[in-house]
Assembly symmetry: C2
């Protein structure tokens, strides 16, 4: 089993009511691969500029991430600037400098094309299609997207959605994509586009899994006393989810549910510090202990009849 | 065991994107008592005007609700007019006619003062104090409140909070009461005011239970395909919760969790039709079946170690 992620690596300038981080490492592929690396072998495809620090690549290597697909080109690395208010569920983008990411064309080392599991992070759906065509025989493909692509590349987005197994999408964006305010109907509309699973991400309220042929599953988020920076939580969630799945021979309803919870577990670590700092030094034991806390959070007995 | 509720009975004029209801029966005490009546014996204290239909009182009797505490006075019944957008989590109040509710002074028939369980619905905290003084030896008292009282009667509100076992409060109002944007810290601040339990209501995102001496519990809301009218969902939730608790000899952590889920179950029925129409004709079997769906919604296995 091998898990491939194609997405962004970036510098983030983030301000929250609890502090700020400047030129912090970020980007969907970085959060995803770090999170998934606790469960499986990950290969990464992204692009960075000449300003990208060697230390970051070394960190990814230390986590066992294969970075041969990380292109380094002339220019500067993608840079995002955003701000969160007390409602940490939604960021206001203050500035986006695409830099080298603007001309990104994913190039996959030959053996990456044999990946069994693929995460197409939030990039242009035409690039997502381009990548997927190169994968020889994938077992499980998931994608993320955002309002910008829903508005500007709707046709390409619907085409790639029809070819994947799972769509991960924010609640607001699911409503926008399906043009339906009801989240259950929105999920059904997206399922009708082709994927087997739709995961609706609801920030601090957790995430819902909708399936073609099973009842929905709700994975809680853990109520945390201190949330410093929600940047990357969605990709970290996806990393836990796909990382766990790709380490299991079969996608059973039970494994899917555990994978959703592990996504939430990883996201809960992520938001407790700026950038992905709190994902740098986890352990199987820490992850298992938090999984138990999630289990206790929602556990209740059946009624006596 | 006997459960007393003191609150409002009202006419609601409600508009949602899915339709409207005019002069629909509503009010916290009506929703609460109807919901709780599926679990226990309920007595109701509220006030209505001469325009209140006999049919409604008869319905409450058919549910076994003791309405000797329902005062009927000269004038018109409390009337609320509100509108919901596609985000059904928050109503915009368009008009409030307090009418006879403006001079409401709860009068408790003598035997009501022996109630074991009490729900002080969202009314003036000074009236909540007045009621509580009359109860001889309550086992479990819960209250609800709202932004209006947090702003205008903060001292009285904090006094009554110090005397109850459980506070039920909306997420936004918990933040306002505690002056803390973080919901965990807000709950801890409210716990420090005296109650053993704080329930944070999060609308379609479910509810959190915080305790003095245990880890939090999250009761999900069920993702429904059609939500017509969220009016009364919070009081219906409280009715399921308190109704179940008052029918159990002891408040154990396990019973509390089941009570929270039953609150969510009853609220899920409530929002599926306008007013409390969908609460009129439930059965133990229907309630048990939906409880099972809630259980399935959040059930997952522990990780293999």
């Amino acid at each position: 089993m091998s898990l491939l992620v194609v997405g962004s690596v970036a510098f983030d300038n983030v301000e929250t009511p609890f502090g700020k981080a400047e030129r912090a490492l970020g980007g969907s592929a970085l959060y995803f691969s770090t999170s998934a690396s606790y469960f499986t072998d990950v290969s990464l495809v992204a692009v960075v500029g000449e300003d990208f620090p060697e230390e970051a690549t070394e960190f990814l290597h230390s986590r066992g991430v294969d970075t041969r697909g990380l292109q380094r080109t002339k220019g500067e690395t993608f840079c995002w600037k955003g701000k969160y208010g007390f409602d940490l569920n939604e960021a206001v983008t203050l500035d986006t400098q695409l830099n080298v990411f603007g001309d990104f064309h994913p190039e996959l080392p030959a053996d990456y094309c044999k990946s069994t599991h693929v995460f197409l992070a939030n990039i242009d759906p035409e690039l997502q299609l381009e990548v997927l065509k190169q994968i020889e025989n994938p077992e499980f493909v998931a994608l993320d997207t955002m309002n910008f692509w829903i508005e500007s590349k709707r046709d390409a987005l619907i085409e790639i959605i029809s070819k994947v197994d799972m769509v991960l999408i924010n609640e607001t964006e699911a409503r926008q994509l399906a043009d339906d305010p009801n989240i259950v109907k929105a999920a059904q509309t997206v399922l009708a586009m082709g994927p087997k699973y739709v995961v609706i991400k609801r920030g601090e309220y957790g995430a819902l899994l909708f399936c073609e042929d099973d009842e929905p599953f709700f994975a809680p988020a853990y109520p945390l006393e201190a949330v410093f920076d929600p940047t990357g939580a969605g990709d970290t969630f996806a990393g836990g989810l796909l990382g766990f799945l790709s380490n299991n021979a079969e996608v059973t309803p039970e494994k899917l549910r555990q994978a959703m919870v592990l996504g939430g577990v990883m996201a809960s670590f992520c938001v407790q510090e700026f950038s992905f700092n709190n994902l740098r030094d986890l352990s199987d034991d820490k992850i298992a202990k938090r999984f138990e806390r999630f289990e206790k959070l929602v556990r209740f007995n059946c009624l006596e009849s």
